[in-house]
Subunit: 224 residues, 2 copies
């Protein structure tokens, strides 16, 4: 393994360990030692990549948006819906993502810093998609894309918190479905509504299709 590749792997191992520790203990109670123990790397390796607990938290926060990656859809509203379900589905199993989400809603993390990062990143990321939906004629003329995406980002943050508090996220997909059931009629042109899939198992189905496509790609690569 080349040195650079090894460094990338080590960085990832540290990030995943940090995510798990931040998720379990929160920002304030987490120490670098706890991350070192979980990651099973040396202090030198950790400080090579991250200069402090703050920079580690920032890196964990920056990992959030890529977890919502989904296959493109002809209907951009469907793609937006898919991103929320896939993100919710991944949130059930991925410790790095859990830690990142906990940090995003933790008012104490990192201390004295700007808490707006993930909220802004999400809004900036999603507004592009909603503007494409508008350009394709999917939206009612009353919709202001920036307002709608900021509502979705804020609402999602709270819904996942509530789901975590009430059922340890077991009902998160149902709550996401209810969110879309209430918001879609206010933003989508009526003819589009019946065709948008917002069933609670949407995230699991999209991820299964992605995994299958990934396996096929590996097979193609191997036979090439």
């Amino acid at each position: 393994m080349a040195r650079q590749e090894r460094a990338i792997r080590t960085r990832r191992v540290i990030l995943e360990a940090a995510g798990a520790v931040f998720d379990e203990h929160g920002y304030t109670a987490t120490t670098i030692s706890m991350v070192l123990e979980r990651a099973e790397v040396t202090k030198g390796a950790l400080y090579f990549h991250f200069s402090s607990k703050e920079s580690l938290a920032q890196a964990v926060l920056d990992e959030q948006v890529p977890f919502a990656a989904v296959p493109p859809q002809p209907c951009k509203l469907q793609e937006l819906v898919d991103m929320t379900f896939v993100f919710g589905q991944r949130l059930l199993g991925n410790s790095l993502l859990k830690g990142s989400v906990r940090l995003a809603v933790d008012q104490s993390a990192p201390p004295g810093s700007d808490h707006s990062g993930p909220f802004r990143q999400w809004a900036d990321h999603l507004v592009v998609l909603l503007e494409r939906a508008r350009d394709q004629g999917e939206l009612l003329p009353t919709v202001v894309p920036r307002q709608t995406v900021e509502l979705l980002v804020g609402a999602f943050a709270g819904i996942q918190l509530m789901s975590r508090a009430l059922t340890d996220r077991a009902d998160l997909a149902e709550r996401i479905s209810v969110l879309w059931g209430h918001v879609l009629p206010s933003i989508a042109v009526p003819g589009l509504l019946p065709g948008i899939d917002r069933e609670p198992d949407r995230g699991a189905r999209v991820l299964a299709a992605l995994d299958e496509a990934g396996a096929e790609q590996v097979a193609v690569d191997a036979s090439g």
Copy 2:
């Protein structure tokens, strides 16, 4: 001042100090000493009312729902809308409420305990109102009141977090207005929509009317 009255006041002073400290430092970093210093009461007085930091946090959490008290309205959806705006307005200035809301979304507060308290209390409180709205014919037949109130509670929790992170809550009333703009068309019978006031300054106006009514009541009491 009677002994009981003094005890009630002392308890309130402690709760308000605790709310302020929890708001500023979060659950984990808050200590009983910090609350004592802020409240300017003796250790004995505090422990007379609260046996631990956990019980103090629980009491602060339990103060939340009463802050949404508003005058009754003929249209129960308007009353529900008013509760969110008034709660948002009070959240700008009241440290006890700020602390209570921070604890509610703080995954570490109190450790090992059930975090679902405020979410459940809100849903149980609001569902009664939404069921009255349904009984009065205000809702579309597709609405499931429990689902809608749980969506509103979760969404509100996240929206206030996002508003706090982006603008220290300066745009909270606007975000509440956007929430209702997206949700009302999916739940209210169309004829009702134009009559529901969801302007961002709704909370300030309802509170001003309440204060005026309170001042009049004092005048009536004094002349009686």
